[in-house]
């Protein structure tokens, strides 16, 4: 009677749409909190990145001699090239930010608890890939800023314990920032990382579907995922689109001067904003700390902390309230470090 009594459209009847969304109709989620839409927003930003990235790929030349000029051509000559590059650059920042916001939201809601460990881990992988995409993308224009960021960013990798030297060489594609660095960054940015991100996103969503109702009682007012949540998500998406096109239309992402490896790395060289905290740890720690290499010790501690974050669902099975407070303190520390790095 339920199915027969429903008003189904002509198209829904024939496309199997009704069967597809039936499980989503049965699933309910909490109706409160904007942060619930951050996951979907991250997905939309990724799709915007793919679409605008493909358009940029039509004109970009991954070669140290031609890269800067080809981006200059995109900005100066190709119709709407500047707009599309702005969209790509701004969405990338928003993508990293919303990914971070989504992670924080999951921690604060303690949604990492069993049986969602795999969902958490796949999310951590997605975060790593996302940051990798942003970092490799920043290298591609081969402007002086991009070149310096590539150097500073890969230099920081040296301080990671155990893997440091390997990571340093891996990011540079050799011992120095060269044409190999650009070539590798390009390959990873347009092929390896987007493919990996798509794969892990699929895993992430499948793990989302595996959610079992009985283990996660919905607190407070709840709404069905379809159509209510999806419609609200779509409304949030329109907001994101407005934000992206507004930023892209009114705020140019300037290209700067071409890369000149002969120029010394300026003392105020900084990595991209999401690595500023890392930079600050390395820059501010004394060379020698209690008899060990200062930066290495602090970065090692930070990496240990990172490992704790990755292993969170296994360390905190019950979902202690204190975890949420610790997460807020950690975010505060990261923000303070980043702000300090800028001044």
């Amino acid at each position: 009677m339920e199915a027969g009594g429903r008003r189904t459209g002509w198209l829904a009847d024939r496309s199997g749409w009704s069967d597809l969304v039936r499980p989503l109709e049965a699933r309910r989620v909490s109706a409160t909190g904007f942060d619930r839409y951050l996951g979907g927003i991250t997905l939309l930003l990724f799709l915007i990145e793919v679409a605008s990235g493909i358009l940029l790929l039509l004109y970009y030349k991954p070669d140290t001699v031609q890269a800067y000029a080809s981006v200059g051509r995109i900005v100066g000559e190709i119709p709407y090239g500047n707009l599309i590059r702005n969209v790509h650059a701004w969405s990338s920042d928003l993508f990293v930010a919303s990914l971070g916001g989504h992670l924080l939201s999951v921690v604060l809601r303690r949604a990492y608890r069993a049986p969602y460990e795999l969902r958490w881990l796949s999310g951590i992988v997605l975060l790593a890939i996302g940051i990798g995409l942003a970092f490799t993308g920043a290298v591609l224009p081969w402007s002086q800023k991009a070149y310096v960021q590539a150097r500073v960013g890969s230099e920081l990798a040296r301080y990671v314990p155990v893997l440091g030297d390997w990571l340093h060489r891996f990011l540079r594609g050799g011992d120095e920032v060269t044409s190999a660095t650009l070539q590798h960054a390009f390959g990873f940015h347009v092929a390896v990382l987007p493919a990996a991100l798509s794969l892990f996103f699929a895993v992430h969503v499948v793990l989302l579907m595996r959610k079992r109702e009985e283990t996660a009682p919905v607190e407070g007012a709840s709404i069905p995922v379809y159509p209510d949540f999806i419609i609200r998500q779509a409304a949030a998406w329109t907001g994101v689109v407005v934000a992206v096109i507004t930023l892209a239309t009114f705020s140019d992402r300037l290209l700067g001067s071409p890369a000149d490896p002969r120029m010394a790395t300026p003392s105020d060289a900084r990595p991209p904003w999401y690595f500023l905290w890392f930079h600050q740890i390395v820059a501010s720690s004394s060379r020698d700390l209690l008899g060990v290499n200062g930066p290495k010790f602090l970065v090692g501690t930070a990496c240990l902390l990172g490992a704790l974050v990755v292993g969170l669902p296994f360390l905190d099975r019950r979902g202690w309230k204190v975890t949420a407070y610790l997460a807020l303190v950690l975010v505060f520390v990261l923000v303070v470090l980043s702000v300090n790095a800028l001044s």
């Binding site: 200059g72 051509r73 900005v75 100066g76 000559e77 119709p79 709407y80 500047n82 707009l83 709404i223 159509p227 209510d228 419609i231 609200r232 779509a234 409304a235 329109t238 907001g239 689109v241 407005v242 096109i245 507004t246 239309t249 140019d252």
Partner: protein, 447 residues
């Protein structure tokens, strides 16, 4: 006269090589000897150089002499191009290089002090001999002495005037450097100062009754300014007057000197009414308007009827030329304003953050068209000027079109943005309405 010279040098090479081999064992025990060489042979290898150097028997004695007049040449010579090319003391002073004692001075033709009049002949002995010079430096010209003899400098010094320069006055004596050396007084960077050394000295120039302000005027001229900025094409004294053949250009030839670089200006000038008029009155072309040593930048010369205009210096009452000057001035002013407007439009677009990749090129085109106006002024023909001005206007219009196109593109982009904004708002409203409607229905449905 040349042949014995050459033979003397060749002989000296062989003799010195032999002497060197003979002296080698006790060379180390001898007094310290300043670096110097006595070889002129292109065949002698570098490996032979140390013994040969210690074998410059002139230096062996002269370096130890108490009289600075007799000692100084040995040190001066050590930095000379002649030492590098292994032309020894005997190359110029002759004497007998086989005799390592004062007996060498007694040889026939020994020339301890070449007189002012003799010097050109001494230098020319080698430098006018193409067959000999090609063994030393095949790229060095060999006609300097002939040219010098044609120059006023050469004629005066040849006639026994010791105030007029001969080779050594400009090039130095024992310490001669190649002209390419930045330290050489005849190097392009130093030659104007070298000329000024005599020509800006009123005492030196008094007997010849010529002016002494040329260097000061050149320094503040457009040529001097360009030279100071490092422009490698900017002429110094020799650029117009020549070097060895330095001769004052007469009114009839000055245009040829200017026209060597300013070809188009000269060609157009020769088609103008000025060309004939100047010839009739014996006026120097170019100089009448531009002056010579203190030639001013073209931009500071005014074409027109104002009191400071160049035209009114001569044409105070001539009706027809003044009419043409007025027309030319109007055309030039129009072109200048048009080009300035195009530059301002591009600058404004840059301030507004518009990306116009073709703008620098378009402005270059405007500047090129503007630069082409200058030669056309020499025709004094408003019709031809109008054509050149039209080219400026065309280039300016092309630059402005890039700006208007970019502005139009931005307008379209902005319009698209607002349309997208409206669409997003509509979508957001629809979705919100739908969400609100669903929630309302669920509340009604659930008890």
């Amino acid at each position: 006269m040349r042949s014995p010279n050459r033979n003397a040098i060749r002989l000296s090479v062989i003799a010195l090589a032999l002497a060197a081999l003979a002296r080698q064992p006790d060379a180390a025990a001898g007094p310290p000897v300043p670096a110097a060489s006595a070889s002129a042979s292109p065949a002698s290898s570098r490996a032979l150089t140390p013994p040969l150097e210690s074998a410059n028997t002139c230096v062996t004695c002269h370096a130890g002499l108490a009289d600075p007049k007799l000692r100084a040449p040995t040190t001066e010579y050590s930095s000379s191009v002649h030492r590098d090319d292994r032309i020894g003391c005997v190359g110029c002073h002759k004497g007998d290089p086989r005799d390592p004692t004062a007996g060498a001075h007694r040889a026939a033709g020994f020339l301890p002090h070449p007189s002012h009049a003799e010097i050109a002949g001494v230098c020319g002995g080698c430098h006018s001999d193409a067959g000999f010079m090609r063994h030393i430096n095949a790229r060095l010209p060999v006609g300097q002495q002939a040219l010098f003899n044609l120059s006023l400098h050469g004629k005066l010094s040849g006639a026994g005037d010791t105030m007029a320069p001969t080779c050594s006055v400009c090039h130095g004596r024992h310490e001669i450097l190649p002209a390419a050396s930045p330290k050489a007084p005849v190097n392009r960077l130093n030659v104007a100062k070298l000329c000024a050394g005599c020509h800006a000295d009123p005492k030196h120039m008094a007997p010849y009754q010529i002016r002494t302000d040329q260097f000061a005027k050149w320094e503040r001229s457009v040529h001097g300014e360009a030279f100071k900025k490092g422009n490698p094409l900017a002429p110094t004294c020799t650029g117009c007057h020549g070097a060895h053949s330095a001769t004052p250009p007469e009114a009839s030839s000055v245009a040829r000197a200017c026209g060597r670089c300013h070809e188009e200006e000269l060609a157009l000038f020769e088609q103008s009414p000025h060309s004939k008029g100047f010839k009739k009155r014996g006026l120097a072309p170019c100089v009448a308007c531009h002056s010579n040593h203190d030639v001013a930048p073209a931009s500071s010369l005014h074409v027109g009827l104002t009191p400071d205009a160049t035209c009114t210096k001569c044409h105070s009452n001539d009706e027809k030329p003044l009419k043409a000057a007025d027309e030319l001035a109007g055309l030039l002013r129009g072109a200048r304003d048009r080009a300035a407007a195009a530059r301002a439009a591009v600058a404004r677009a840059g301030d507004e953050g518009l990306h116009i990749s073709g703008a620098p090129f378009a402005l270059d085109q405007v500047a090129t068209a503007e630069l082409k106006l200058r030669p056309v002024v020499h025709t004094l023909d408003p019709k031809r000027m109008a054509v050149a001005v039209a080219a400026v206007e065309q280039a300016a219009a092309a630059a402005e079109k890039l700006v208007t196109d970019a502005e139009q593109g931005r307008r379209i982009e902005r319009r698209g943005y607002y349309a997208a904004l409206a669409l997003a708002f509509l979508l957001f409203s629809t979705l919100s309405l739908k969400a609100w409607q669903l929630e309302g229905r669920r509340r009604l449905g659930s008890p």
